[in-house]
Symmetry: D2
Subunit: 101 residues, 4 copies
């Protein structure tokens, strides 16, 4: 089962800037066999369910090992059985409709 | 690693009422070794990370097998290394502060 | 337009415990003409759209005024035109189905 | 108060494809004095709080007027008092750290 996941990890009790922790998550995610795309309020992941969630777990686990005491992440998790969609497919489906305006 | 997860599963392309699918998720979640608590806009889960996410995966997988074509879930995922908190602990920490008002 | 909102406010750059800030949100929300219900991973709000979002804005604004530098909230926002549902209605619709098992 | 909002609107009880509704949201959002950026699992909004939330409300209200019975949106809402950050700033802060690897 493939899934698309939008992941936003928030370290609690660290500084006001969380860019160090988010950069660390990017390095962790890059080790997994998934597609990733950083955006302004999270990172979108695409791949096999088990691989995607192994990556999410590694982010939590390794940030804790690096000294972050508390994390709260928000995820949107999409699955569908009718077709497989890439990041580009999903945006394009919307843009196609707008281009006819 | 223990986690607390707030899970809200939304079937897409089914009817306006999604109570059947949410009831089915409750039956699925009950098979796992996790604590669950249904609330008005989701279900909170608590337990070992792997068990909690096996339960979330089973919800997606089994709803698809039952004929739901598309799902989009929203999850909040909390982990912390300083202490373990139950559902009741988290609410009580807030209520304690309010009771001093 | 009525809405049901699940609100989880996370202060960033404060301490590991956020119960003080969540308690402060409860005090703020109580001033508005909305129903609220605290649960383990957020607070569910129900009422007229403008009143609910005035309450959410007040939480952000007043926590900032109290010295919190950065906030990230996660909201689920539900609206429907077919019927009005209270917190209890939504849970009951699921429980009714389970009670027939 | 400025805010950055990640918005994902899900129509319930419509078809499996929701691209028509998402395209309609893009047209609605474009009428407001806010910055918007479509990504694979939502749209990020940036601007004054009241303007951003007027845009979110218009999405719900106008999709209902167009015949959608039920909607559930997921929002992440970020505010901060220390500095103003654009979409590009937030991504760049992470990319800067990765570029030193």
């Amino acid at each position: 089962m493939k899934c698309m996941v939008d992941l936003c990890v928030i370290p609690i009790g660290q500084g006001v800037s969380v860019a160090d922790e988010i950069a660390q998550c990017q390095r962790i995610l890059a080790r997994f066999d998934i597609d990733t795309k950083l955006h302004a309020y999270g990172t979108t992941l695409h791949g096999e369910w088990d691989e995607v969630f192994a990556a999410v777990k590694a982010c939590h686990q390794e940030l804790h090992e690096a000294g972050v005491t508390r994390l709260s992440s928000t995820l949107k998790v999409g699955t569908r059985t009718d077709k497989e969609q890439t990041f580009a497919d999903k945006k394009q489906a919307v843009i196609d409709r707008l281009s006819k305006d």
